[in-house]
């Protein structure tokens, strides 16, 4: 079980959180204008990284805020915690 450093509440047990999957997925500006393949890419296609995965998490039983986590999928190390609108951090061992 991870220990997640919520930007608002500090380090808390994973059981207080919900993982919302991969972050930095851009919803098409005008969905009507994109073709089926592009829409499917937005809906379904994910990186499934071996290494650092950039995910969004909700502190569900805490402050109720969403934020981003850079989590190494091989050893569960949390490389970075950053705001929902912050850019993806440049990590030394990132993708």
């Amino acid at each position: 079980m991870l220990l997640i450093d919520c930007p608002w509440c500090g380090p808390r047990s994973e059981r207080e959180f919900r993982c919302g999957g991969e972050s930095h997925i851009v919803r098409p500006e005008t969905p009507d204008a994109v073709d089926d393949a592009a829409w499917a890419d937005y809906l379904f296609y994910r990186h499934n990284t071996k290494g650092v995965s950039f995910e969004r998490w909700l502190h569900r039983f805490g402050c109720g805020r969403w934020f981003n986590v850079a989590r190494a999928t091989t050893d569960h190390r949390l490389a970075a915690v950053y705001g929902m609108t912050d850019p993806r951090p440049e990590l030394e061992d990132g993708r």
Binding site: E14, R27, P31, D32, D36, L43, L58, W66
Partner: protein, 973 residues
Amino acid sequence: MSGTRVAGGVAIDRSHRLDFRWAGKQYRGFAGDTLASALLADGVRLFGRSFKYHRPRGLIAAGLDEPNAIVQIERGAATIPNLKAPYIELYDQLDAQPVNAWPSLGFDLMAVNGLFKRFIPAAFYYKTFMWPNWLLFEPLIRKAAGLGRAPQERDPDLYSQTSAHCDVLVVGGGIAGLAAALAAGRRGERVILATGGALWGGRLAGSDQLVEGQPATDWIAHTLAELDTLPNVLRRNRMLATGHYDQGLVALCERMTDHLPIDARIGPRQRLWHVRAGQVILATGAFERPLVFANNDLPGVMLAGAATAYLHRYGVLVGQNIVVATNNDSGWHAAMSLAQGGARIAAIVDARPSPATSLLAAAEALDITVRCGTAPEKAVGGKQVRAVDVARLDAASRLTGRTERLVCDTLLMSGGWNPAVHLHSQAGGALRLDPAQHSFMPAALPGSPSIGAAAGDFAIKTSLAAARGTEFVPVSTPIRPLWSLARTAEPDPLAWVDFQNDVTAADVALAARENFRSVEHLKRYTTLGMASDQGKTSNVNGIGILSQFLGRPMEAIGTTRFRPPYDPTTIGVFAGHRIGDGLAPRRRLALDAWHVAAGAKLEEYGGWMRPVAYLQEGETEAQAVAREVIAVRTRVGLFEASPLGKIEVKGPDAARFLDRIYVNTISTLKDGRCRYGVMLDENGTIFDDGVVTRLADDHFLVGTTSGHASAIAEILEEWLQCEWVDLRVLVQDVTTCWAVLTVAGPKARDVLQTLEGTIDWSASAFPHMQHRAGLIAGMNARVARVSFSGELSYEVSVPWRQADRLGERLTAAGAVHGLTPFGIEALMTMRIEKGFLHVGSETDGTTQPQDVGFAAVLANKKSDFVGRRSTRRPDSLRGDRRQLVGVAVDGPLPVEPGAHVVTPGREDAIGSEGWITSSAWSPTIGAPVALAMVNGGAARMGETVKIWDLGTWRKGRIVPPCRYDPDGSRLNG
């Protein structure tokens, strides 16, 4: 001769005798004994029958690595199967039995399996799947194989759970763990020190070996005393670390009452600890390896370290005339201790050609026969060992030359030591093979150092240095690896590797020959290491034999994955209080007591205990539902709708936001108006529906289905926080702030009008699909004129705590009109009559709005909303999608939801055209009514269909969903 009680034994209290039963016979032991030590002291050798072949088996270990002495304790609901005898603390009147013997331990009819051993080798079961026939063998195998019996009754015990945080968690109570805890405690750090067993001191408990100048027993006592003076140190015995997870989280199971006599047990039986530690120091010790030679499973063949432990801890000498077979120094130390304890050491047999001269001198001083470069070939005996045949080893570690028979009553073996790397490995720590110890050692793991024997360090001085974090130079005394002892490359078929699962060296070789060469495949194919001990004594030997057979180094083979729990753990302690009513809170309606008093039958709907129907004297449920429906249709009914989701959405951008959430356009809604809306997920699937109300220009009340409010509120938040961060909108779930009573029926207005207040109830002032806020009987109320029943209907909300008052006023006012409480079933019947959608009944994970009558709404909306693009995929545009229809069913009885709708003439093919989604007997129409999702259903009105209903054919006709008041004059009245 076999075991006896001698002097010593740090754990036992000789002034306190305990009576207990084993296999139906009465025995006595001392307080502090384990079941194993007390039985050994009484001369018991036979502890069980093996899993597959029912071979007689005795104890080999002194801890939770014991593979043979598996027992069942107590009877009835209190029975616990598959405990290890060395890990059961004796208590007065303990009742224990062996697990796999029939009819008795001494005379086991299934031992005949042993005679057929060559016919049931490794993977026998898998092979019978292929040929000749698994069913032929299954009954026999099921009867023969097995361990204990699970209790049939509910677990009578309580279990608890707790969490703790600390700077340092020390796992293991041997001298390394004690020293590490004391060092951290002296530094002022918050320390938790846990050991799995009852005793402190690990392998040195009760030993007079010197530790920093004092006998180990004294050193341990002094260290414990100092630890207890430190308020920042919490130490617990009987607390076994079972899992090591991410970022310093360790799960530990504390056995709180298992060691007490049954009538002295108070409170929870066990407690699960979740400890989050800054540093986890693993001082988990090591397991001794057995040697693999023919008949090494005879009772009386034991691990050398276990024999020492029984002597030092319990004053039990496991035998009188002992041969020690070893490949390392520890076997010699065991021999010396046992000689000091009063045993005759018949011989020390060391695989190494030239052991240290100090060892040889010590043996000579005690006049002990020594055989070097020699190893056991075969244990001799019937139900226990009587002698051992030994032979010399050649350079390739094969047995060679003349056999020498050494008479003994006990054969002790030491094949080297495996550090207990389980917790290290669970946390992601890597392992490396130590070329001198021939064991897998923990590689460095940040935040979780291994120390002492757990790090492969068996010397006191260096273990203590590691525990205190001081610099030291590791010492290592090389061993001679012995994997399979035989004269040829072919292992002996009676040389056991995994005692508990009856896996032999020959089985390992067979698996390798049949190309199950990966260690994970070997494990599954032979079941090596799959028993309840998870291979604590067998895994490394198995890997060594596989390595020998394949000619590949052990490090290239590697270990199987170590997974929690480290030792079998009761399911009860994982469940804790979350059983029965403790699993999830039952939510009660605001008028719960009133419903019960009115005869309501309550059932759980989405976590809420809600009235199904109100049963009157002598009434069936169906009769009650019919009566309630007629009451609402002809007079007036009262329904508690408090669980309906209520989410306030407020802010300058609230209307824009809701336009993006709903299929419908919300921004055009006028103040005080309601609109029925549907929400989708991004896949275009209907996710929820409900009534949205505009309370003010910037303020909306979003209604959701019951039990779905928190999920919807969470999704709205997710869109606002993660996608549309520029929108200024606040979302708040207020579901349980407001109790809701629905007054429905042609007399609803008459009832409400009699209540004093500020709301004008007249049809012209308060039309259908509008909302009013005002005072009712002095209470702040919100009223929505909406209808799920199809009648004139008002949903009246008041603050939750005032629900009783509203209920009283309504029942008083309604009495003259025959106000009738109605339940979920009546409401559902009425909404089916009306053809109203129920998300989750009519809809599933494929249903889109155009399938349930929202094609026009979808087409008319110009702006984007969640899921819109997905409703424009080719699949969404097909004309033959399943669509919502009504089905008029012939005959008097309703069909079951899920019944298939089939076109006549296609009964024999796979001809399902869809299925019934909701169904009821309609008291209003006097016939069954049903809704269905049918392929291209909207264009099939009037078509005759057949319905496959629970094995019988019914007939029906596709009709519009709405069967009652299709022009809506009643709900608009």
